[in-house]
């Protein structure tokens, strides 16, 4: 589905990513864990076209999409739920979802998509006419994921979906992520600081440190890895 080869990204004179390579297979949930500032968000932003890359390739379904503009990449069936959710706070919940389907014209299909989103996040349906800025953090995250689903993606990238959200809601949201992956067959690349949770729901994981992949393995194995345990899973 997605193969990133030797990706390099610079912020001015600073190199943020130094040759990151990773792979997401069709139907998998793959996670990218690492400390603050390791380059997790940068990796996602470079893949979705928000950042220019300085080197390497982003192969999506066999095609190099590095440096395509973000709005073109959405057309290819990739959807990115950004860090901090970025729901359109000045728009209603309904308008946010409609904007998620911005590139689609087929009204009945869009309607079906919206019903699916309401199925997984009934809370959104209750708040349809409310402006998104008045939602709680957890509800905004649901809306951000729902909005991303409205483009009917084949590949979904989630950046820190647990950030700043009540623990109880985090559990719900992660269950829904698994549900979306299983039911819709959407492949997922998940960036998460909560490594425990991320490794629990994913099949494969990468560990990023100061712009480099230092470790990669099946998630099950990573959870047993002493190095990962001590650095990311809260000790022994």
């Amino acid at each position: 589905m997605l193969e990133v080869k030797n990706l390099t990204v610079n912020y001015g004179a600073i190199t943020a990513l130094r040759g990151v390579s990773l792979q997401v297979k069709q139907g998998d949930i793959v996670t990218l864990i690492g400390a603050n500032g390791a380059g997790k968000t940068t990796t996602l932003r470079a893949i979705s076209g928000l950042l220019k890359t300085a080197g390497g390739e982003v192969l999506y379904e066999g095609r190099n999409i590095a440096n395509l503009p973000a709005h073109e990449i959405v057309k290819l069936g990739m959807s990115h739920v950004p860090e901090g959710r970025m729901v359109f706070a000045n728009l209603t919940v309904l308008e946010n979802l409609q904007m998620g389907a911005y590139l689609r014209r087929d009204k009945p299909a869009i309607r079906k998509e919206m019903d699916y989103v309401f199925g997984i996040f009934p809370r959104l349906q209750e708040r349809l006419k409310q402006t998104a800025g008045t939602l709680s953090g957890g509800e905004q995250q649901m809306l951000a994921i729902g909005r991303a689903l409205m483009s009917k993606p084949k590949f979904l990238m989630l950046d820190e979906p647990s950030l700043g959200i009540a623990p109880l809601l985090v559990k719900t949201i992660f269950e829904k992520i698994v549900e979306i992956n299983r039911e819709q067959g959407i492949s997922i690349l998940l960036v998460e600081q909560n490594a425990n949770l991320a490794l629990e729901i994913s099949q494969y994981g990468y560990v990023l440190e100061t712009g480099r992949i230092i470790l990669q393995d099946r998630s099950l194995a990573l959870r047993q890895n002493p190095q990962v345990k001590s650095a990311y899973l809260g000790g022994a």
Binding site: L91, G137, Q140
Partner: protein, 297 residues
Amino acid sequence: MTEFLQQLINGLSLGAIYALIALGYTMVYGVLRFINFAHSDIFMVGAFAGYYLGHYLPAENLGCGLLILAGAMLICALLGMTIERLAYRPLRNRSKLNVLITAIGVSLLLENAGQFFFGAKSKAYPSLFPVHNFTSAGGIVLSSNQLAVFIVAILLLVGLQFIVLRTRIGTAMRAVSFNHIASSLVGINNDVVISFTFGLGSALAAAGGILYSVNYQAIDPLMGVLPGLKAFVAAVLGGIGNIPGAALGGLLLGVIETFVNGSRYSTYTDAIAFALLILILLFRPAGLLGKLQVEKV
């Protein structure tokens, strides 16, 4: 009482013109967070477009007047989009100050090009609409040109409100105005939306230019400076970035200005209008209808 109503009508008709110009400032600010200082000169070009188009069509004819209005709006929409494409877009990812200075440059360019091509001398404006004064029993006079201002301004405002609130491109405009990253992640081409916004705002300025000119009957290439400045003030007064706010700010400023003008303090018209602005902003820093944005993290 008669005088009060008469002044109110005069003020509202001036204010409606300010409102039309203010909308362009506020919409562009909404999507780009920058003040397009060349906007006041697009207003001037709109007036001149009407002047020259007027040569080819009979005067004092409602249909032809509206045709000229539409033509000038189209010309200015294209001009606004061209300016954005050539002058502002290349600076999109630079500091805001660069674009701001560029906008002042474009403004000077339009003013001087106007003097070069149209001549610096003031020109008498043709009567594009049929001229008639409606007089009420109490002696209040409403000129047909004022009536044109009201009708055109209301129709344009309603149309704009419809576009912004009910259409796909309008919702996209609001999405872009919230956040460029989020909008591009749902597949919106920000450049297209920004270009559309410039076109829309410039068309409204052109309408303002023509309505202003038929009422004041003289135009020159520097005519945009003061109304432009006042419309900018109106936009800030209403809450920059807020569309109903710009309309309200324009009307308010027009009415205040007209009343001061009709009083014995008329020498201080502009001073009083601007002092009032400062006063309102002291108490409502975000403008009358603006909200201070607090972002949840």
